[in-house]
């Protein structure tokens, strides 16, 4: 077996393969598919201060080689996450990243404070790029460089664990956005969140999502994710968790080449829940076949 272990922002992982936020709940279901101990890490569902019911259904639609979702951050709230969800995950030898979402920098900071005290949290992933909730300016926080900086700063101030900032590629200046997060002290970046998209049922003339606009994920967006990781890798020095359309070990390798230190699998797990497991197996084979002795051999090593 190849040595696939990585260390990002001080967190040791057996391999670079994680489950992406919102696509693996809090791990319970996947623990019934394969052994969670095999994973590099898990990023749990977006967690808010108060419980959130989420958006009206229908919440998902299939699109060409991808899907739209408008879940709207349905989650039981941070208290329940700490008391009911984290204890389950603590049974495993598995870094747990908690994805947090708030309506203001104060909310983000409070989430960071509460989760910082909780047991079994390896890192925070700060979701400032959710297309499915309404913010002050009805845009994404990450579309405002000031917000990126302020929220990251506020979270960093309260967090006792490393902080990964999750960005969308749908910004006018992506490198500047990545730099704003890094300047504010982010320990890493998670790239990318879904792209805002829409689909209409032409039989009824209705949007396929009750929430009209949703987030596009899946293989369709992989080139955008690769580009974002590549650009961020050249712009900042902090580690990157790459995601967006990863469905195979080849896709994971592509993200590593682009500059990711770890990858997260989302939509592909929906149509094949064994995807993360298969990717780990495939990475092992790839590293062995090529006699590469560590992930750093290829990380960010795209040759121009």
């Amino acid at each position: 077996m190849a040595d696939l272990s990585v260390k990002i922002a001080g967190i040791k992982m057996k391999n670079p393969v994680m489950l992406a936020s919102g696509t693996c709940g809090f791990g319970e279901e996947f623990s019934r598919v394969f052994d969670l101990n095999l994973l590099g890490g898990i990023i749990v569902k977006g967690t808010t201060l108060k419980p959130r019911a989420g958006n009206k259904p229908p919440r998902a639609a299939e699109t060409p080689y991808g899907m739209l979702n408008s879940i709207g951050l349905q989650n039981p709230g941070v208290e329940a996450v700490i008391n009911e969800k984290l204890p389950f995950l603590r049974q495993f030898d598995l870094p747990v990243f908690v994805n947090i979402a708030g309506n203001s920098k104060e909310e983000y900071a409070e989430l960071a404070r509460l989760l910082g005290k909780a047991k079994g949290v390896s890192a925070l992933e700060v979701n400032i790029s959710c297309p499915n909730v309404k913010h002050k300016n009805s845009g994404l926080f990450c579309q405002d460089l000031g917000d990126v900086y302020a929220i990251t700063k506020a979270v960093k101030r309260k967090s006792r664990v490393p902080v990964f900032v999750k960005l969308s590629a749908e910004v006018s200046d992506f490198k500047e956005t990545a730099r704003a997060a890094a300047r504010a002290g982010a320990d890493g970046l998670s790239l990318i969140n879904t792209l805002r998209g829409m689909a209409i049922d032409i039989k009824t003339g209705k949007p396929k999502l009750a929430n009209v606009i949703g987030g596009l994920s899946g293989p369709a967006i992989k080139p955008v994710g690769i580009r974002a990781v590549y650009e961020a890798f050249s712009a900042v020095k902090i580690p990157i968790i790459g995601m967006g359309g990863i469905a195979s070990a080849e896709d994971a390798v592509e993200y590593l080449f682009a500059g990711a230190s770890a990858v997260a699998v989302g939509t592909a797990s929906f149509y094949d829940p064994l995807t993360p497991f298969k990717i780990i197996k495939g990475l092992n084979k790839y590293f062995e076949d090529n006699s590469f002795d560590s992930v750093s051999v290829i990380r960010g090593r795209v040759s121009l």
Partner: protein, 264 residues
């Protein structure tokens, strides 16, 4: 750490047969021993119609029968995915996820069941029907369809058939027959089981509740994962004083009708 149980199962199943049947439905038989062993009526499986390529997302299908290492489904070629499914050949392999969902609950002491099926709702209802027969529970079956051409009724003994256009059986909706069937039943030992389009389920729930009879409805929705992780398949349910959402794939698809908050 407590012992892990890997009971969400993905397997490659060999297609044993695909047949066009009554009412324009297709019946597909799959060799899927793990699923066949544990599947209960009301549960479903989810199929990757194309190994690679489109459609990307799996397609959920109620279980029509399970046993002897095999699982059967019943479906209409309604869109892209089911169209491809209907053209599969014996011997081809298809990835199957399941069994998924909770299935119908048959209470101890149940004496009389009324089964109501609309559209491809006949599929899980047929499975339940056979199970109830085996357990010697008195069963009335009501099947509704738009017209006789869209009707599937194989395997049911004297079902009450209703068609909207009256081209077969009673003219009208299933609720008329249901109302009659419920009339003589004692609440404590009876139950209604329904699967079909949501407006039908809502109407069935209303009639059952009027008679004070327990009603289990099998809901449906667009499902991205089928295993409870994506939260895309929710329906509104009563929760405490208010309402909340439950996942149809993992908390359902079968719900007590009184739990559902029907959208108009």
């Amino acid at each position: 750490m407590k012992k892990q149980k890997f009971n969400i199962n993905v397997s490659d199943a060999v297609i044993l047969s695909v047949k066009e049947t009554d009412g324009g439905y297709f019946r597909m038989k799959l060799a899927a021993p793990v699923i066949a062993r544990t599947a209960k009526p009301g549960q479903f499986i989810s199929l990757k119609v194309n190994a690679s390529g489109m459609p990307l997302i799996r397609r959920p299908m109620g279980i029509f029968s399970a046993g002897k290492g095999c699982v059967e489904i019943l479906f209409k070629a309604a869109g892209k995915g089911t169209e491809i499914l209907s053209k599969k050949k014996k011997g081809e392999i298809i990835s199957v996820l399941g069994p998924l969902g909770n299935g119908f609950t048959v209470r101890e002491g149940l004496r009389h069941a009324v089964l109501v099926a609309g559209g491809y709702g006949v599929s899980p209802v047929a499975f339940l029907y056979r199970e109830l027969k085996r357990r010697k529970i008195n069963t009335t079956v009501i099947i509704g369809a738009k017209n006789k051409k869209l009707l599937y009724k194989e395997g049911f003994k004297s079902p009450k058939i209703t068609t909207e256009d009256g081209s077969r059986g009673f003219k009208g909706l299933v609720t008329g027959q249901l109302d009659k069937a419920c009339a003589g039943l004692s609440c404590g030992t009876s139950a209604v089981y329904a699967c079909g389009p949501v407006p039908m389920l809502k109407a069935v729930a209303q009639v059952s509740e009027k008679h004070g009879i327990e009603c289990q409805v099998s809901m449906e929705s667009m499902m991205a994962c089928g295993i409870g992780v994506c939260l895309s398949c929710v329906c509104s349910v009563k929760e405490g004083m208010g309402t909340g959402y439950k996942r149809i794939c993992a908390d359902g698809p079968v719900f007590d009708s009184r739990e559902i908050v029907w959208r108009t």
